[in-house]
Structures are given as structure tokens and as C-alpha cells.
């Protein structure tokens, strides 16, 4: 039964990925679709930031991740490169956790 779940879910996930890539160009030429496609990453990234910072399963929690993200924001404002932003966020979260 575990194999059934793994294979079914894998097939479903792959088909969804393929479906997204296979939408015909004329659909993409519709202005509403183009605008949605442009705004989509912003909405998804914002939601991923929030969920991965505050969610623990179905609970909203404030833990060391928030301190890490705040440090990442400071690094961003200081125009630090991408990897530095990530390293700073991880380092501060690890530090807060070690001290807490």
C-alpha cells in the first residue's frame, strides 16, 4: 500500500508539472493570463515566506525562524548577495536556537 501511495502521488505530481509546461501559447497570449503568470511568483513566494517562517503543521508559531528571517531582511536591505542572505538567516536562527 505504501508503494501505491508513492507511485500514485509521483504520477500525479509529474503530470501536474507537465501540464503547466504544456499549456498552449495562445492561452499564454491572453493579457489576463500573462498578468496572472507575472504576479503568480510574487504571490507564491510571499506565501512560502510566511508559511515557512510561521507554520508548524497547522499551527502558527513564532520561533527562531522569525529571528533568522529578520536577519535576512537586514542583509537584503544592506544589499548582501543571495547566498549571504541565506547564510545570515540560517546562522542567526541556529544561534537563537542554541541560546534558547
Amino acid at each position: 500500500m505504501i508503494w501505491t501511495a508513492v507511485l500514485l502521488a509521483s504520477a500525479g505530481c509529474y503530470l501536474l508539472k507537465l501540464a503547466g509546461l504544456s499549456v498552449p501559447q495562445r492561452v499564454l497570449d491572453h493579457p489576463g493570463v500573462r498578468r496572472t503568470a507575472a504576479l503568480l511568483p510574487i504571490a507564491l513566494l510571499a506565501a512560502l515566506v510566511v508559511v515557512q517562517t510561521f507554520a508548524q503543521g497547522q499551527r502558527v508559531v513564532v520561533d527562531a525562524r522569525v529571528a533568522g528571517l529578520a536577519a535576512g531582511v537586514v542583509a537584503l536591505l544592506l544589499r548582501a548577495p543571495f547566498l549571504v542572505v541565506i547564510a545570515v538567516a540560517a546562522g542567526v536562527a541556529a544561534l537563537v536556537r542554541a541560546l534558547g
Partner: protein, 243 residues
């Protein structure tokens, strides 16, 4: 930035994301075997499904004693956002035939973000392929090591890796917040996600937040309405300016 510089930057970022997600995969491998999957089943999940949130959801539900079908359904629902990424990516990648079948497996949060975040089309393509392949290799390597090493590994949380992911998403989003509408969409999406976390299963909040972009995209932009009032017919100009 010239192409040599951009290529170096893209490859460096791709490797960095690959290493970070590979470290995450250690925890997935350990979780998988702890949930009752064999090492082979755990590794097959990473090889075949290859989309983190769905994989965590599947083993989480199986480990908590949920039915395999409920686990599979939740995993597929979570994977729906990859279809949305694909919508955006197909314009950027321009892949056909067999390459599209290969590219599809590499569509995920990280590779999509690295592609759509690039200014040049060449950089976007390299960002997708380099990030997708780096994450694929290191994610599967991490899964194998995690499944084999299970208990002996350090907790990724102790290394702060759970804060690395949101920081990466934030860093990818920041350059896109150029104007009032992106800020509004990002804020509304964040609020929708936060508000829905306690109400719906894990992973669904991100899908609900995607609706914000659908609603915002469905109505014509202020610039388009202005152009219409002026009677100016310059289709495509707004899209050019957006890039």
C-alpha cells in the same frame, strides 16, 4: 552584467540552493524511514515525486497513520503549484518534445524561482536547468544518506536550515517588488497564507494565496485602463516594460 558574470552568478546560486536543499533532504530521508517506508521507498519518493512539500506531506500522513490514498491526494494537491510554475516557465524555457518531459520533472519551487527571477532569457534558462539539476542530484543524495543514516545525523533545525528556506524565497521575491501592485499582491498573499494556516491542511495555504495573483491578474491594470482611455493602441508595450 555581462554573460560570463551572469553565468558564474547563476551557477553559484544554483549550487548554493542545491547544497541547502540537499541538507534538507537528509531530514526527509530520516523522516521517511521513521514513518515506516523502506530505504528504497524513501529514495523512490525523491527520485520520482521530487517536490519537497508533497514528499513531506506524504510521509507525514503515512507516519501519522493516515491512509495511503489520503497521503497521495494531499501530496498531489500540494504539487498543484508546480503546474502554476510551469505556466510561467513554458514562456521562458521554450522546451519541446522529449526535453519538455525532462524539464517537467525539474519544475519545483527553487528552479522556478531561479528562472523567473533572472532578467535575461539565457540566464533564466540556465537558472532553471542548473538549479533543477543541482537540486535533483543533491536532494536524492541527501535522501539516500538520510534514509541510511537516520538517527546519527544532526537536526537540520539546529543548523538553522529551516530559516534558510524562507530567507531564500524572500531574497527571490524582493527584486520583484517594483511598484504598488506587486507590494499589494505580496502583502495580500502573505495575509491569506497566514490566516489559512490553522484552517486548512499544510501546503494548501500557498495554493489559496495563489488565488490573489489570479484575482489581481484578471482585472486590467491601471496602466492598461489609462491607455484604453487615451485610445492608445500599443499592445505588448506594457509587457515589455515589465521585464
Amino acid at each position: 552584467m555581462d554573460w560570463a558574470d551572469e553565468r558564474r552568478a547563476v551557477l553559484r546560486d544554483a549550487l548554493g540552493i542545491g547544497v541547502a536543499t540537499g541538507a534538507y533532504a537528509l531530514s526527509f530521508g530520516a523522516l521517511g524511514t521513521a514513518a515506516g517506508l523502506s530505504v528504497t521507498q524513501t529514495c523512490a519518493t525523491s527520485v520520482l515525486m521530487f517536490t519537497g512539500a508533497s514528499q513531506y506531506a506524504l510521509v507525514g500522513i503515512l507516519g501519522a497513520g493516515g491512509s495511503p490514498l489520503a497521503g497521495a491526494a494531499t501530496a498531489v494537491l500540494l504539487g498543484a503549484r508546480n503546474a502554476l510554475y510551469g505556466l510561467r516557465l513554458s514562456q521562458v524555457l521554450g522546451v519541446r518534445g522529449g526535453w519538455r518531459l525532462v524539464a517537467a520533472q525539474l519544475v519545483l519551487d527553487e528552479s522556478s524561482a531561479m528562472a523567473v527571477g533572472r532578467a535575461s532569457p539565457l540566464g533564466a534558462r540556465l537558472g532553471f536547468w542548473a538549479t533543477g539539476l543541482a537540486v535533483y542530484l543533491l536532494w536524492n543524495l541527501g535522501t539516500l544518506l538520510g534514509a541510511l543514516g537516520a538517527q546519527a545525523l544532526p537536526d537540520p533545525r539546529a543548523l538553522g536550515l529551516d530559516a534558510a528556506a524562507p530567507a531564500a524565497f524572500l531574497a527571490l521575491m524582493a527584486p520583484r517588488l517594483t511598484g504598488r501592485e506587486p507590494w499589494l499582491v505580496a502583502s495580500a498573499a502573505g495575509l491569506v497564507a497566514m490566516a489559512s494556516v490553522p484552517l486548512v491542511p499544510a501546503g494548501v495555504p500557498v495554493l489559496l494565496a495563489a488565488l490573489v495573483a489570479v484575482v489581481a491578474g484578471a482585472r486590467p491594470s491601471r496602466a492598461a485602463r489609462r491607455e484604453e482611455r487615451r485610445g492608445a493602441s500599443a499592445p505588448g508595450r506594457r509587457e515589455e516594460a515589465r521585464r
